[in-house]
Structure formats: C-alpha cells, structure tokens
C-alpha cells in the first residue's frame, strides 16, 4: 500500500467541511449568536427612544457592540469539544502544519457565526435609523472586524481550553484586544454618516485583520500544543 499524503490545502478543506457538517446537525447552537445580536439591537429603540434621528446618533455603535458581544458568545466552545474527544491530538499528530488546520476551523467558525452578523447588519441598522448610504461601510467594517475577532478569539479559546470555566478568562483576554476594532469600526460608520471619507479607520481595520491572519495561526498552534500536553 502506498499512501498519497494529503496536501495541506486539502487537509484544511476537510477540517472546514467537517465543521460545516457538524454545524448543520447542531444548527441551534450555531444560531445562538445571531439571535442574541438581533434581540439586543431591537431592545435599544424600546429602552431609549423610537425617534430615528436620535437613534441614528448611536446606531453604528450599538450595532458594533452587539456584534462584538455576539461573536464572543460563540467563542468559548470553539476548541473544547475537539480537545476533550481527542481530535486535536490527532491533528497535532497528522503531520500537517497545525496552524493551517486551526485557521480552517476558525474560518468555518467565522462563516457560521461572523458572516451572518455581517449579512444581518443592514436590516438591524435600519431598525436603528441608519441610512442606506452607510450600509456598505457598516458591512465592510463588520466584515473585517468579525474576521479579526474570530482569529483573536481563536487564540484566546486555544489558551483557555484547558481551564475549567474559562469563559470569564476568555472575555478578559479578548475584549481588551478587541477595543481598537470597536473604536475604528464605529468611527468608520460615524464618519460615513457625517459625509467624511471613512477610508482611514477602514484601512486600520484591514491592517489589524491581516496582522491577525498572519500571526494568529502561529499563536493558536502553540496554545493548542500546550493544551494537549495534559
């Protein structure tokens, strides 16, 4: 028997497919962040004022805070099941670069939890009085922001997977790192609304995203290797 070694890209694709298949069978868990996002943003007009011109002032910020918390909600369980049933052990031993496999897993996680937030944001934003002219900037900023958050969260989740009740620790680790995203993201929306060019904050968001994309896999694989030592 001569075995053909799986190319790394194909292996990463398998990890991605596997998580999609699993999510399809457990869709209720996957839908949770999206429901949280919609519920939180609809509560703001009820609690403050139904006056759209007043809501418009805070709308961008509200959408961003809700998206941030919603993605955090889904992060804690990211690696837990795989570490507990020994799957990550096999990934470490697969002879494939671990960072790519973990990045594929995070990508699947983003498609399932981050992308729906981006797609829903125009509808949610309209409820908060955001004009159609900011839809593009809102979605683009969230696209970069949730992507970065998934990677940062992946590092945090990999570090805390061995810790019992790691969710508090995870929030403490990830939230400070997410602050620049929140600031630049809501600033981009506000600038677009005021008629300024939002290019500056968007470029900064993109820079942070690419930094996370390039360094994240290294950090995640180091953290997971420590987690499987026990």
């Amino acid at each position: 028997m001569t075995a053909v070694r799986t190319p790394t890209l194909a292996a990463a694709k398998l990890v991605f497919q596997r998580d999609m298949t699993l999510a399809w069978r457990r869709w209720d868990e996957v839908a949770q962040p999206l429901i949280f996002y919609v519920v939180v943003t609809t509560m703001f007009p009820l609690a403050t004022t139904p006056d759209l011109s007043a809501l418009r002032q805070i709308g961008g910020g509200v959408v961003w805070v809700a998206a941030l918390l919603a993605s955090l909600l889904a992060l804690e369980a990211l690696f837990r099941a795989d570490v507990e049933d020994g799957t990550t052990e096999q990934w470490v031993l697969s002879g494939q670069p671990l960072g790519y496999l973990l990045l594929a897993k995070v990508a699947a996680h983003w498609v399932l939890t981050g992308l729906p937030l981006v797609i829903m944001s125009p509808i949610v934003g309209t409820g908060l009085g955001l004009p159609t002219s900011v839809w593009g900037v809102l979605m683009l900023s969230l696209l970069l922001g949730t992507g970065t958050l998934s990677i940062l969260g992946g590092i945090g989740a990999a570090l805390t997977v061995g810790v019992r009740r790691g969710s508090v620790l995870l929030s403490l680790l990830v939230l400070p790192l997410a602050m620049p995203l929140l600031i630049f993201g809501s600033r981009a929306v506000a600038m677009q609304m005021d008629g300024d060019s939002p290019a500056g904050p968007l470029q900064l968001l993109a820079a942070i995203f690419f930094m996370a994309l390039s360094l994240g896999p290294l950090a995640m694989s180091a953290a997971i290797r420590i987690s499987v030592e026990n």
Binding site: M1, A3, V4, R5, T6, A10, A11, L14, V15, Q17, R18, T21, L22, R25, R26, D85, G86, T87, E89, Q90, W91, V92, L93, S94, G95, Q96, P97, L101, V228, E229
Partner: protein, 210 residues
C-alpha cells in the same frame, strides 16, 4: 551504541509529571518487524512514555531517533509516519462512521470511498458505516478508531491500551492487525496490561518499574 538495523530508538528518556519523576532513563530500540509491549502497574508511566514518543508531552532529557536521524526539529515528518491510538477514540458522535474516517484519517492520506469501505470491513463494522458514531457501542467505537489507524498507513504504531472495550474476537483482531503490520516491515509499540500477543515471535517486552 546504535543497535544494528534499528529504525526507532529512544535514548535515556526522562520525564516528570508535576514533581514526580516518572520515566527514568528509559532506552530501547526497535527494528522493523518488531512489536514492543510496554507493561507495568497502573500509574507507572506507560501512557507518559507513549505520549513522549508522540511529542504530545515534552521529555526533560533524552532523544528519539527515527531512521538514523534525531526526531528533534523534524516532528512533522516523523508524525506523518506515526499512527497513534490513544485512550480517547477521537470520534465525533454527530458524524457517521464513514465521515469520521473521511475527516480525520483523510488529513493524512488521500482516501477513496473503496479504501474506507475495505477498512471498515476489515475491522468488522462495515454494516454500521452510515450510523452516527454516537450510536455505536463502546467496542464498535474502538474498532472505528482502529480503522482510522489502519487508514493512516503509518510505519510506527503507538497503541495505548488498544484492546480496551473489545470482545475476544476484537482482541484477536487487534493481534492479527499488529502481526500483519509488523510482518510487512512495520513497527508497533503498545501499552497493555491484558494478554496481547504473548507468544508471538515478534514480541519484545519493556517493563517499567515504579
């Protein structure tokens, strides 16, 4: 001090777990066609030794040699030739038996549907191929984990209590698989406290003492 023909060598492995010095100067070498059985009472460090070989646990001192070169710095190359069956079966309950193999064994080698079916047949659970792994019995899950090991097509097998949960036919199957593997030039290291291939010519023993 290299032993003639040895492809795998462990040299003076020392490992601690917490403040306990578990492995003390463990050395052995293995030639193709040999099966090393690691024995000893519970807690003596059998699993620790296997995890050190896999690189899942760091050893304090000592070195592993594979095909005449130190494993250090060439982990991914070594891991590709290493098949590991641990305490955990590494199965996803929500995936079917076939999907479990496709998504985990497929990371190492490119699999065809025929190869998966042939391997499921070999471990005797072909008829369960499309059932979620959750619904398999403990012994069938172990057989599925064995199928994953077979599909990995690795030269060196690391087996941690391979016959856990298996019936007598299952134990015989594991013995057959190991003999077949070493007869084709493979190597196997297993931790076991049950009887396992006790009279086979390929057997070598390593007894760990507390």
């Amino acid at each position: 001090m290299a032993v003639d023909g040895a492809v795998f060598e462990a040299r003076e492995i020392n490992a601690w777990r917490g403040d306990r010095h578990i492995l003390r100067d463990v050395s052995f070498s293995l030639r193709p066609g040999e099966f090393l059985k690691v024995t000893g009472p519970n807690g003596v460090g059998k699993t620790t030794l296997l995890r050190v070989i896999c690189g899942l646990l760091p050893a304090e001192t000592g070195e592993l040699w594979w095909r005449g070169k130190s494993v250090r710095g060439r982990r991914d190359e070594f891991n590709f030739e290493l098949g590991h069956l641990g305490h955990l079966n590494s199965l996803k309950g929500d995936l079917t038996a076939r999907e479990n193999l496709k998504f985990l064994a497929g990371l190492r080698t490119t699999l065809t549907a025929q190869a998966i079916d042939a391997t499921l047949d070999r471990v005797g659970i072909l008829s369960r191929g499309d059932l979620p792994a959750r619904s398999l019995s403990a012994g069938q899950k172990r057989r599925l984990a064995l199928a994953r090991l077979l599909l990995a097509d690795a030269a060196l097998w690391i087996l941690d209590e391979p016959v856990t949960n298996l019936d007598t036919a299952g134990i015989r199957l594991v013995e057959e698989l190991i003999v077949d593997h070493v007869e084709h030039g493979g190597l196997a290291i297993a931790a076991a406290h049950q009887r396992l291939l006790d009279d086979a010519p390929c057997l070598r023993s390593l007894e760990l003492e507390p």
